[in-house]
Symmetry: C2
Subunit: 416 residues, 2 copies
C-alpha cells in the first residue's frame, strides 16, 4: 500500500503531519516557498503557546527540543481592569510552552529532511493544482498562500463575523519581568481589549510576548496602526501609557528603561477574520484535497487555539492516512468526523469570547475569582476546547457548571 | 440532576430508549396513540430483522424473550437470476432474528410499564408541542405521526430521491419451507426487483416474510397494488407465477397447496421515499426536540437497516442523556456526532443498492460468488453499515477491498 502524500505549506500543521507520516513510513512531500534560513531575520510571524496536549505530540515526534522546565509556564493569571479589579489564577495540570516560530518551524523542517523527508522549496499557486493532483494520492492544503484556500468555500453557518473583531498589536518585548514560576497573564480592559502576556523562547533567550487584542473604537485601537519603525520613542511611550491605564498588573512588571521590542522586526500588527471553511475537494477520478489548520479554521489568536488545533488535526489526519487503504471523499469525511468537534469548538469558544459577555459568562468569571477549582478547570480546558464548549456554549451549561462546582465544594465547607 | 424525558412514539427507537433510561433511573414518559392490545389484529406493520448488535442491546435491556436458537437465522443466501444464476452464501458471526412487531412492540410496552415506566396513550399533534416543551427537559420525536416530522426539515444533500425507488409488496406467508439452519435469502431479479425472504416469529410460530422490492416499470411492479382482499386466488396465482420466473430458489421452497398469507391482514403494500432530516429543533428558552429513528432517517427496507439504526441511535441518545447535565443544542450536536456515521452510512448504502449497480459493485458481487471470506464480511457488515460504507462507497474502495481479500487468500493458495 504505497501512497504519496503532498503537503502544501510548512506551518505547524503541515510539519507535524509530515513528521508523523515519516515516523510511520508513509511517503510525504512538503511544498513551501520559504527555506529554513529565511526565518531568522523575518518579521514576527505570530505568538503561539503550545499546551500540554501539543507538547505530548512533540514528544511523540521526537522534536521536544525545548523541554527544560525553565522554558515552560505553569498557569494563567487573570486580571480584569474593573473599578474593583478582579484577579485570579488558574493552573494547568501540566506546563505549556511558547517558542518563537521563526526558530520552531526551521528546526522541524531540518529535522524532517534529516530523517529523509522531502521538502520542495518553490512557490505553488492554484494553477499548479492539476499536476499536483496527478502526482500525489492525497493533497493536504495547509497554507492559504497562492490562493489555495479558495478551493475550500467558507461556511457561513460557522463564520459569524465578516470583519476582524480585534485590532492586533503583537510584539516580543524585553524589559518585562517574568513570574516565578513563569506564567501567562490574561488581562482584560472591558470595552477596550484583552492582552495575553506570554513568556516566549526566542533568539536571545526568553522575551515577553504582548499579544494585544484591541477593540475597534476603544482606547487601545490605535496601537494596531502606530508605527514603531517611523517613531520608536512615540510608539513605546504610547504603549506604556496605555498599559499603565488598561493592563495595570503587566505595567507593574515593566522596567521602562529597558522596555523595547526584543528585535526591531519583532512586531506584527493587523487583524483576523475568524473563518471556517469546508474541508474537502474531490477531483475527477476521485482523488481529493483536504484542508488542514488555518485553511480549515482560522481563529482570532485570543484563546491560543490556532496552532494547537492545527497540530491536533495533523495527528488525526496522519492516523487516518496510516489506517486507510483509500484516500477518497469517504476518507476525508472520516477525518472530519474525528477532528471537527475539537476544531470547531475552538472556533466557537474563541468567537464567543470576542463578543460582549453574556450575564452568565460574567457570573462565571466572577465565580472563578473565589473558586480555584473552577479556574483550574477553565484553564486546563485550553487543552480541550470541546470540553470548554461543553461547559460554556449555552447559558444553561454555564449555570450547571457553576452549580456543580459549588456542590463539589459544599461538603468541604460543612466538614470545616 | 432530575430530568424528565418525553418520548413521542412507541416504535423500536422510542421503546429501546425508554427502557434504557428506565434502567438508568432517568424519568422517561412515552406518548403513543396505540395501546398494546391494538396490535394483535392490526395490518402487518413491517418486516424487521434484528442483527446481532441489536440483539445484544435487547439482552442488555432484559427483553430478549425470543432467544431460543431455533428462532434465529445464521446466514444469508444470495441468488441472482442471471441466465447463468449466481448463488453464494455469507455467514454472520452471530445469529440474527426477526420477530413480528405486532408481538414485539406490545411486549416492550408492557415490560416498560411493569418496570414503572409511564406511557400516555393519546394522540398528540403539532399543536401540542408547546405544553410538551414546558413539561419535559427534552423531547424525543420518534414518530412521524401527527405531523411531528415536519419539525425537522429534510436534508437535500442526503436525500437523493423524491419518489419511492421500489414498489413494495410485503407479506407473511405459510407454505414456504425453512432452511436448516434457518437463513435469509436475498434474491435479485435484475431489472425487476429484489426479494428478502425472512423467517419471522409471528403469532402462530414461524412464518416466512417475503419482502418484495419491485422496480417501477418491471415485471413485478403490479404486485404492489394487486388486491388480496378483493381476489385472493388471483393474488396468490399471480404471485406464484412471478416467483417461479424471478425468484426461482424461493419458489422451489413453496408448497403451492399450503401457500397463503399467514393471516389475511399479514400484507403491506406501498413504498418509501428514503429521507434524511435535520435532527434538532431549539425552542425559546433553550429546550430542544431531537429526532430519532425514521424521523431522522427513513430508509427503504431492502438492507434491513431501519429498525437496527433506530435501536442503535436510541442507545447513543440514552448514553448521552445519562452522561449530560444539560439537554440543549450542544447536547443534540454531540448525539449527532456520535450516531451520524452509522445512521447515515445505512442510508447511503441502501440508497446505493437501490440504484443500478456500478461495474465495480457488479464485480464485487461476482467475486463474492467464489470468495466466501468476502461474502462473510459483506454479510457481517449488516451489523456495521459504516464499515460496509468504508468498503463500497467509492469504486476505489470496492477495488481495494477485492484486492485485499484476494491478497489474504493468496498465501493459502501458495501453501496448498
Amino acid at each position: 500500500m504505497k501512497r504519496k502524500i503532498g503537503i502544501i505549506g510548512a506551518g505547524v500543521g503541515g510539519l507535524h503531519l509530515a513528521l508523523y507520516l515519516n515516523k510511520h513510513g508513509v511517503d510525504a512531500t512538503v511544498i513551501t516557498d520559504r527555506e529554513p534560513h529565511a526565518y531568522r531575520d523575518s518579521q514576527l510571524i505570530n505568538t503561539v503557546a503550545h499546551h500540554h496536549v501539543t507538547l505530548a505530540r512533540e514528544a511523540y515526534l521526537g522534536i521536544d527540543h525545548w523541554s527544560k522546565p525553565e522554558l515552560s509556564y505553569t498557569h494563567h493569571n487573570h486580571f480584569f481592569n474593573f473599578p474593583e479589579p478582579l484577579q485570579f489564577r488558574g493552573d494547568f495540570s501540566r506546563p505549556s510552552r511558547a517558542v518563537d516560530y521563526r526558530i520552531y518551524l526551521p528546526v522541524l523542517m531540518e529535522e524532517f529532511m534529516r530523517r529523509g523527508g522531502e521538502i520542495e522549496f518553490r512557490r505553488v499557486e492554484e494553477d499548479d493544482i492539476g499536476p499536483l493532483v496527478d502526482r500525489f494520492d492525497l493533497l493536504v492544503v495547509s497554507t492559504g498562500k497562492g490562493g489555495f484556500s479558495q478551493l475550500f468555500p467558507y461556511r457561513p453557518d460557522l463564520t459569524p463575523y465578516t470583519q476582524p473583531q480585534r485590532r492586533l498589536c503583537v510584539g516580543l518585548y524585553k524589559g518585562v519581568r517574568h513570574g516565578e514560576p513563569m506564567n501567562v497573564t490574561l488581562s482584560v480592559s472591558p470595552g477596550h481589549g484583552e492582552m495575553i502576556v506570554i513568556p516566549t523562547v526566542t533568539f536571545d533567550g526568553i522575551a515577553t510576548a504582548l499579544l494585544m487584542e484591541n477593540v475597534p473604537g476603544g482606547d487601545l485601537e490605535e496601537l494596531a496602526t502606530l508605527s514603531y519603525a517611523q517613531d520608536r520613542p512615540r510608539f513605546l511611550a504610547t504603549l506604556l501609557a496605555k498599559l499603565e491605564k488598561h493592563h495595570t498588573t503587566t505595567y507593574d512588571r515593566i522596567d521602562p528603561a529597558r522596555f523595547d521590542l526584543a528585535q526591531e522586526q519583532d512586531l506584527l500588527q493587523g487583524g483576523v477574520v475568524p473563518t471556517v471553511r469546508s474541508t474537502t475537494v474531490e477531483f475527477p477520478g476521485g482523488k481529493c484535497a483536504i484542508a488542514l489548520g488555518d485553511v480549515h479554521s482560522v481563529v482570532d489568536p485570543m484563546m491560543g487555539q490556532g496552532a494547537n488545533m492545527a497540530s491536533y488535526a495533523a495527528f488525526v489526519l496522519g492516523e487516518e492516512i496510516v489506517n486507510s487503504d483509500v484516500l477518497d471523499v469517504r476518507f476525508c469525511e472520516k477525518v472530519d468526523l474525528k477532528r471537527q468537534d475539537r476544531v470547531l469548538a475552538a472556533s466557537r469558544w474563541t468567537n464567543m469570547m470576542l463578543a460582549p459577555p453574556s450575564p452568565e459568562l460574567g457570573e462565571l468569571l466572577g465565580t472563578m475569582g473565589h473558586n480555584k477549582a473552577l479556574a483550574d478547570e477553565f484553564t486546563e480546558n485550553f487543552n480541550y476546547p470541546e470540553v470548554q464548549w461543553d461547559r460554556i456554549s449555552t447559558p444553561q451549561r454555564i449555570r450547571a457548571w457553576i452549580d456543580r462546582t459549588a456542590a463539589d465544594r459544599a461538603p468541604q465547607t460543612q466538614a470545616a
